[in-house]
């Protein structure tokens, strides 16, 4: 039997051009299927794990998903800001336990800057009630102090005590706030959420860097040096959104209704879990369709393998007869062909996984920056083992057909095929 398998490998190598093309097809198809499944799974997990223990996210009236994406995942942009007075009034509502304001809009080297209060570090939780923990330093206390997420510190090699400057807008090419540098006072431990990619400063700092700006651009000739900013009133007039935690979680509906109907300005209060569940229900159909299509592509790839092997069988009748004369049984020839098909399938999937790893390496940062989706580095998740087994099983079934054909041919031909 070993002799047969060695010959099988050599025979396949002799036909490596056609088999190679089929192998590439299977590799690409597998990579696609695994990529779709992985993004689907990790996106869902990224979103559900990004925030915990927050009862409502409040912002200007827009889409609930858009608000969540911007306020929690720091992706996209807000259509409109909300006034500080609205926040102040609602924060004192009797059912509210805590409220943390958020200001977004600036960035540092592509990482979003979040203006907030020190309460953020106390109240913000993620992934099943995990609190934010400092790996180094502490929360900001003064203007021009910054707390970095773990990914920011790691990628830019920053430590407590370093100085950074912020940029207006989300791209690195925006106008800079170079005259007002920040000092890093704290670095957070990794969370696996968008927090890792954030630069956290206090609200007053955001106001301070925009003191001498109007409508998104610095006023020439009106530069206010950093040391004078404290003479001005740094209370923000507008914020992007705020997070709310309640004393009693069952009160969420009444507060939500109150905020939605707030007469001060058009506001919207979103329950994070509900908004995300609604999103997934809508996406559910798309997810299933994408998965089905990717599965179909894999089937097509395997069909290609089947076609190639069946076509080659006719040329290989003599080869099979020679093996028969040497002592191979029809069963061994069946196993030979089946093993070859399974070998190509397995190699194809292996290459596909390699492609996936390369793709993940290049696209993961993009996905995280633009959509807040964090792709995890792992060999196989439990749901992916099932996919792998399904692909290999299908490849096996496909390989049984040329195997069976070879078995039949060898019985019919004996030692002298008629070609």
């Amino acid at each position: 039997m070993r002799a047969i398998l060695t010959l099988a490998v050599k025979s396949a190598w002799a036909r490596r051009l056609t088999l190679g093309v089929t192998l590439c097809a299977i590799a690409l198809a597998s990579a696609l299927l695994f990529a779709v499944e992985r993004v689907r799974h990790d996106a869902r997990q990224s979103f559900t794990q990004a925030v915990s223990g927050v009862d409502l996210v409040v912002g200007a009236r827009s889409g609930s998903v858009q608000l969540m994406l911007h306020a929690v995942f720091r992706a996209g942009s807000a259509t409109h800001n909300i006034r500080w007075e609205s926040f102040a009034a609602l924060a004192t509502h009797p059912v509210v336990d805590w409220a943390v304001p958020l200001v977004l809009g600036d960035s540092h080297r592509g990482f979003p800057v979040l203006g907030t209060t020190p309460d953020y570090f106390r109240h913000f939780h993620y992934s099943d009630r995990r609190p934010l923990v400092f790996a180094a330093g502490q929360a900001f206390a003064d203007v021009f102090e910054a707390v970095l997420g773990s990914a920011v510190a790691a990628e830019l090699r920053l430590e407590v005590g370093d100085r950074i400057t912020l940029t207006h807008g989300m791209t690195e090419a925006g106008p800079g706030h170079d005259d007002k540098p920040f000092t890093v006072v704290g670095i957070l431990a990794p969370t696996g959420t968008p927090v890792d990619r954030g630069v956290h400063v206090n609200l007053e700092s955001i106001s301070a860097i925009h003191l001498d700006w109007v409508a998104g651009a610095p006023l020439p000739g009106l530069a206010i040096p950093a040391e004078f900013v404290k003479k001005f009133d740094l209370q923000p007039k507008e914020i992007t959104a705020f997070l709310v935690g309640l004393k009693n979680r069952a009160d969420v509906f009444r507060l939500q209704r109150h905020i939605n109907g707030y007469r001060g300005e058009p506001l919207m209060a979103v329950m994070p879990g509900v908004a995300l569940d609604e999103l997934w229900q809508t996406l559910g159909m798309i997810e299933q369709t994408l998965l089905a299509m990717s599965a179909l592509v894999v089937v097509i790839g395997l069909a290609g393998l089947l076609a190639t092997m069946l076509a080659s069988l006719n040329e290989r009748r003599r080869e099979l007869a020679i093996l028969r004369a040497l002592g191979a049984s029809p069963r061994e020839l069946f196993l030979l062909l089946t093993a070859e098909g399974l070998l190509i399938t397995t190699l194809g999937v292996a290459f596909g996984l390699g492609l996936l790893a390369v793709g993940t390496f290049f696209f993961a940062p993009l996905l995280q920056a633009h959509f807040g989706i964090i792709l995890q580095w792992r060999l196989f998740a439990p749901n992916e083992w099932l996919l792998l087994a399904a692909i290999l099983a299908t490849g096996l079934v496909a390989s049984l057909i040329p195997g069976w054909r070879a078995w039949r041919m060898s019985l019919a031909d004996g030692l002298t095929p008629r070609n």
């Binding site: 869902r44 997990q45 559900t48 794990q49 915990s52 223990g53 009862d55 009797p94 992934s127 099943d128 009630r129 004393k247 009693n248 979680r249 069952a250 009160d251 969420v252 509906f253 009444r254 939500q256 209704r257 939605n260 329950m271 879990g273 509900v274 569940d277 609604e278 229900q281």
Partner: protein
């Protein structure tokens, strides 16, 4: 073969009481204390004759809302094991996507679009064991222990909490023809 069938039936029938007895079913109405009637003050108003924009109608509505928001809980239910069917709003999920905390409400759509239920018709439920396959606004039977929280509000008892032991899918009972 007959023996096997008999044994199977015995297990099913004997299993049932053990299943149901410790968790007596409770209806949503029972969560409302007897004698609480939020419309009591409004009975003198002839609501049918008022326009929607009439200030008296608006004031009445505001009053009703306030009363609903502060609807008291029935303290007699504290510590009881119950079985209740309702709609689920997930609040927290663990890493595997299983629900660990949720709100239970009596009707579908107790969300942004329709008026929320009174405070004594919303249950804040927690499960020590993460629950799989729970979707938003899904109808479920929930088995667990009810507690009545004392709140810091001026209106006294603030709400129901439930420690979930297990859940089961809800099916509409067959209507008799």
């Amino acid at each position: 073969m007959n023996k096997l069938l008999f044994a199977l039936l015995a297990v099913i029938y004997l299993g049932q009481p053990v299943h149901a007895a410790p968790y007596p079913e409770i209806k949503w109405e029972a969560l409302v204390p007897k004698g609480w009637d939020p419309t009591r003050d409004l009975k003198n108003l002839n609501l049918g004759t008022l326009q929607d924009s009439d200030p008296r109608a608006i004031e009445a509505l505001e009053k009703l809302k306030a009363l609903w928001d502060n609807a008291p809980a029935e303290p007699a239910h504290h510590g009881k094991k119950i079985r209740l069917a309702g709609y689920v709003l997930p609040l927290e999920r663990d890493k595997a996507g299983k629900v660990t905390e949720f709100l239970l409400v009596p009707y579908f759509g107790a969300c942004i679009h329709t008026p929320p239920p009174p405070a004594n018709q919303i249950i804040h439920a927690r499960s020590a064991k993460p629950l799989a396959g729970v979707k938003m606004m899904e109808a479920l039977w929930v088995h667990g222990t009810l507690t009545v929280q004392r709140g810091e509000t001026t209106w006294g008892v603030a709400g129901y909490r439930l420690t979930v032991d297990k859940i089961a899918p809800y099916e509409l009972p067959q209507t008799k023809k």
